[in-house]
């Protein structure tokens, strides 16, 4: 085991494994910590004032957005394992870092209980015929169980991915490479790998079911007379799209900063770009499927929801903006091969898509809850969203600091490393 690490250390400098980013770690922690703190303060302040419904509204939007992003990231890991994909292995740890927010979001879910009257219209006015489903105890039990299962299985996936590497790394850093460690059974990483392979389809199935449930309960029920069978699917594919955009951002940002240029090549960005393009189309397709069926059927119970959001003021301009940012713009930009391989451009595009998808979640939720004038996007929203972003970034940062940046014990990563080495070599000789 340790011999293998020594071999790898010849290629992977130890500082990569122990992650010494070129931007000061402490500096980032402070920034994100401040954002988080500001968000919490803004939220609590707003709750005590007349703006409480608005605070709860944006809390819900953020919870669903960041939770979706996080679980989408873990779905990406699951898919990498299920398909035995080799290309994405250098990105594996970065994706898992995005998934580190999941347990935090599980806790934040329970906070919704305190805003139940502002959020769920059927708490104060129960809906006839749906009381068996739309009642508080049942909702919190089923969503709680679902989120719990999803969080636990995703955490297990991360755990087995990093367990052996973390152990080896701490021993290797403490002892400087020449000793033969007696402990460390040969079979261990295989067991960890096999557990990941078994957990991945479970995470995949739970992802689909739990996010559907969450979409039905926390978004669709806000308008209790409206329904759409595709709504759950639309939510979880949109969340995966969001996760991909976040991954693109993170990869592009950490590429230079974490010294990963030797391991993440332009073709990785190309592949990520292609995936992003595919899921842009997929999300757009699902959006259109719902839209077309509801428009064509022209049944009042169904069209009311859509018309409210795309024809009535103040939401109409926002709907068009979202269509542009989430679908039209990425579609046109991602057609170009050159742009997909430029990290800076991809980071910018990823950020724009994230903003667009946030607004998309906003326009699903806010018109159902907001009774006032105009679009409720102001300081409260910015601060609370900043708070969630800070929390997400903090958990990712802590994860990346704790675990090795590259999954060096992953057999598919080792295979990918060979391919990368073969590509880099002729470039090195050419440059010389």
């Amino acid at each position: 085991m340790l011999r293998r690490l020594r071999e790898l250390k010849g290629e992977i400098p130890p500082d990569i494994l122990t992650t010494n980013p070129r931007i000061s770690h402490r500096f980032l922690v402070v920034i994100f910590g401040v954002l988080l703190l500001l968000g919490v303060i803004a939220f609590l302040t707003a709750l005590s004032g007349p703006q409480a419904p608005r605070a709860w509204q944006v809390y819900l939007v953020n919870l669903l957005f960041w939770f979706g992003l996080s679980s989408g990231a873990m779905l990406f890991v699951a898919i990498l394992n299920v398909t035995n994909a080799r290309w994405g292995r250098p990105l594996k740890r970065l994706v898992e870092a995005l998934g580190a927010f999941l347990p935090f979001s599980f806790l934040l879910f329970w906070v919704l209980y305190f805003g139940r009257e502002e959020i769920f219209p059927w708490v104060l006015e129960p809906v006839h015929g749906k009381e068996n489903w739309l009642n508080l105890p049942f909702l919190f039990v089923r969503d709680g169980v679902g989120l719990f299962l999803l969080t636990v299985s995703s955490l297990a996936l991360s755990y087995y991915s990093t367990k052996k590497e973390k152990a080896i790394l701490s021993k290797a850093v403490r002892y400087s490479g020449n000793e033969q460690q007696g402990s460390g059974k040969e079979g261990e990483p295989d067991r960890c790998w096999r557990l990941q392979v078994v957990l991945s389809p479970i995470v995949g199935i739970l992802y689909g079911l739990v996010l559907t449930l969450v979409a039905f309960d926390l978004i669709m029920s806000l308008d209790p007379h409206w329904f759409s069978t595709l709504f759950g699917g639309y939510f979880f594919i949109g969340s995966f799209y969001t996760a991909l955009a976040a991954l693109v951002c993170l990869t592009g940002l950490s590429w230079k900063v974490m010294g990963l240029e030797k391991f993440i090549r332009p073709r990785h960005f190309h592949d990520l770009g292609k995936l992003l393009f595919a899921f842009c189309l997929m999300t757009g397709y699902l959006f259109y499927s719902q839209f077309l069926v509801i428009w064509y059927g022209n049944i009042h119970e169904e069209t009311k929801y859509i018309i409210h959001r795309i024809h009535q003021s103040p939401w109409e301009p926002l709907a068009w903006i979202i269509l542009g940012i989430c679908f039209a713009l990425p579609f046109c930009i991602l057609l170009s091969r050159k742009i997909k391989m430029r990290p800076t451009a991809m980071v910018a595009l990823g950020a724009i898509i994230l903003a667009g998808m946030w607004l998309e979640r906003f326009i699903l939720i806010a018109p159902s809850l907001w009774k006032g004038h105009g679009i409720p996007l102001g300081m409260i929203e910015v601060l609370i969203t900043g708070g969630f972003f800070g929390a997400m970034a903090l958990t990712s940062l802590i994860y990346l600091k704790t675990f090795p940046l590259l999954p060096f014990l992953d057999p598919l990563f080792q295979a990918e490393l060979k391919v990368i080495r073969a590509e880099v070599e002729p470039e090195n000789t050419r440059n010389k």
Binding site: F216, T229, L230, G233, S289, Y296, G297
Partner: protein, 634 residues
């Protein structure tokens, strides 16, 4: 047989062509009989009237529609395997891609028959085509039935072109292994393919572009078919999840049909070393995924029927489970969503008997699913006084039997006239040939009919131009070719092209080819397609400007579908044309320097040189390892 070299691959796949056994003729006879019976049933229906079918109020769409959706569904997995898995760089698709694509083309052709069979006045089916006519009648471009027409036509065109493009190099291989009339026919269809790097270059780009275009197309086609139902307001039809649900179901039934066809095929042709158990296992795993999606859709539909509080929805879904068609419903759930989950167990998914049985059951289950949805919803909609049942008449069953016969006939013919495995793509997975392999297979290469005399270019018609000529070197070792190209470039001698049995990126890099301009053709075609079809729909609706079903006269929301299909159709046509033009095809006569071994395992290096350089170039080529060096006029 263990395969090590390119020529062995050729032999292995080509030995299945042309020499059928008695079993084959028997199967063919059975299938043709089925076709004849189906044709008889259809003629009976045309002469008697559509009442010969079991269609009766309220069920106006019977098993003709079920079969239509069924066959379109089967077609989908072919495109999934050949296009989508190509984009994902999944190497396990290689051995099954060709058969899967063939399956797609045949299934779409058969599916396209059913809307016509369904017509009362079959002889005026062409009224659905938008053309200027004295009655000023235009199709209603907002109707899902017209979306169907546009989408299925596009799908047929695109999948045929995609299949044909993939076949081009393989047709050249067959051409080089046959003689006489067969050689002429394959020669025509292979469009004079020689395997030059320019051809490979544009071919590679075109194939990628076609795959990238076929992927959204395949998703749109079955979505359009699903919208035949979802755009109505009948409970059980009107559901937003229909589009992805039908697409997943299509892939599910298609994969089952792939297994149904390939398991016997690999057994009969002894292709076990090419279509490995690993491939079949991967298909089974993909079926787990599609089964889960379908199970999810069933769950969500049932939940939403209850949650909606809509009495009609609730009753329709309840009736499916406990009404007259209940046995079909429960079999559907068992076969589609539950049984494929047994593929989670390795023993089940690696044994070909269990794979085959489950595949057949999934096919049956998916057919029942279409029946339950289409007929079950119509039989039991809003008004209890118009509830009624349906059962297919012998005419409908006969036509269905005929359709299966037609499909298997096509497939049997395909398997005997075309290579059922993509030879070129298999070669790409093997290491390039070395000189030793050339010695091993120095005997006259595999020929289906008889030994081909190695006469080389002398038999071809000579073109004589004064002064200018080329030297052709024939190599058996791939690395030698690359090295020679580099040396020649260093000496500033013009390398015209390299002829090879398959595309190699090293060669293209050595020749410094720029990205193929075919993608500009694609883009232009796409834009033109959007403009053209959108323009057509707008014009048609302005001509026949009646408000139908309360929709505005010019509604951009349904026109998106028309524009989308038009975009894909013209983009694909443009890509194909671009590839043909850039590859300097079609060619009736093969060039002087062409040697039939170029499609087997030899590489040709064509160097353009002047009189003075002839000695030097010949010596250089011989030193670099050329087996033969020929002077080629013209």
């Amino acid at each position: 047989m263990k395969i090590n070299t390119y020529s062995e691959i050729n032999q292995e796949v080509l030995r299945t062509l042309f020499r059928p056994g008695n079993t084959y003729y028997l199967l063919l006879a059975i299938c043709v009989t089925a076709i004849l019976f189906g044709a008889f049933c259809w003629s009976y229906q045309i002469s008697t009237g559509i009442g010969a079918a079991g269609l009766m109020h309220p069920v106006m769409w019977g098993i003709y529609l079920v079969n239509f959706v069924f066959w379109i569904g089967i077609a989908h997995s072919g495109t999934l395997i050949s296009a989508i898995l190509y984009l994902f760089r999944a190497t396990w698709r290689t051995a099954i891609a060709r058969s899967a694509e063939a399956m797609t083309v045949f299934a779409v052709m058969i599916a396209g028959l059913f809307p016509i069979i369904h017509l009362g006045r079959v002889w005026i089916f062409y009224w659905l085509i938008p053309y200027p006519n004295p009655m000023n009648l235009w199709p209603n471009f907002q109707s899902p039935l017209v979306f169907d027409f546009v989408a299925v036509t596009t799908y047929l065109t695109v999948s045929s072109l995609f299949w044909f493009t993939g076949l081009l190099p393989d047709l050249a291989i067959v051409r080089d292994h046959t003689r006489g009339l067969r050689q002429k026919i394959y020669g025509i269809f292979s469009l004079g393919w020689v395997g030059s790097q320019h051809q490979w270059h544009h071919y590679g780009w075109s194939y990628l572009l076609l795959a990238a275009l076929a992927t959204p197309l395949v998703i749109s086609v079955h979505s359009v078919v699903s919208w035949d139902f979802a755009l109505s307001i009948i409970p059980g039809y009107h559901s937003t999840i229909f589009a992805p649900y039908f697409v997943a179901g299509a892939i599910h039934s298609g994969l089952a049909m792939v297994l149904t066809l390939l398991i016997p095929l690999r057994r009969i042709f002894r292709f076990e070393n090419l279509i490995t158990m690993d491939t079949l296992e991967k298909i089974a795993k993909t079926m787990i995924f599609t089964a889960l999606v379908i199970g999810y859709a069933y769950l969500v539909e049932y939940f939403m029927a209850w949650y909606s509080g809509n009495v009609f929805e609730q009753d329709a879904y309840l009736w499916r489970a406990i009404g007259n068609y209940a046995p079909l419903f429960w079999m559907m759930i068992l076969f589609n969503a539950v049984l494929p989950l047994t593929f989670f167990f390795k023993k089940v998914r690696t044994h070909h008997k269990s794979l085959f049985i489950i595949a057949i059951l999934v096919n049956i289950g998916m057919w029942f699913e279409r029946f339950v949805i289409i007929i079950g919803s119509m039989a039991h909609d809003y008004d209890p006084y118009v509830w009624g049942l349906y059962s297919p008449s012998w005419v409908e069953v006969g036509i269905m039997v005929g359709s299966f016969g037609l499909f298997f006939t096509f497939f049997l013919l395909f398997v005997k006239f075309l290579p059922s495995i993509s030879i070129t793509e298999i070669k790409e997975e093997f290491r390039p040939p070395k000189r030793m392999d050339g010695l091993l297979s120095s005997a006259p290469h595999a020929d289906i009919d008889s030994k081909l005399r190695r006469e080389g270019p002398m038999n071809r018609r000579q073109q004589t131009h004064k002064g200018a000529f080329s030297m052709a070197g024939i190599f058996s070792d791939f690395d030698d070719v690359i090295a020679t190209v580099k040396i020649l470039k260093g000496k500033k001698i013009h390398v015209e092209t390299v002829l090879s049995p398959l595309p190699r990126p090293e060669v293209q890099e050595a020749l410094s080819l720029k990205p193929s301009p075919v993608r500009h053709y694609t883009f232009l075609g796409g834009v033109l397609g959007v403009v053209a079809l959108l323009g057509l729909a707008t014009y048609a609706h302005l001509q026949w400007n009646l408000v139908t079903s309360g929709k505005p006269i010019l509604a951009w929301i349904p026109f998106i579908i028309i524009a989308f299909e038009g975009c894909i159709l013209l983009a694909v046509l443009a890509t194909f044309i671009g590839m043909i033009i850039k590859g300097r095809m079609p060619r009736s006569r093969l060039p002087n320097y062409y040697d039939p071994r170029f499609t087997q395992d030899r590489f040709g290096l064509l160097v353009f040189c002047k009189e003075t350089e002839e000695e030097e170039v010949t010596k250089l080529l011989k030193d670099s390892g050329a087996e033969e060096v020929k002077r080629v006029e013209g």
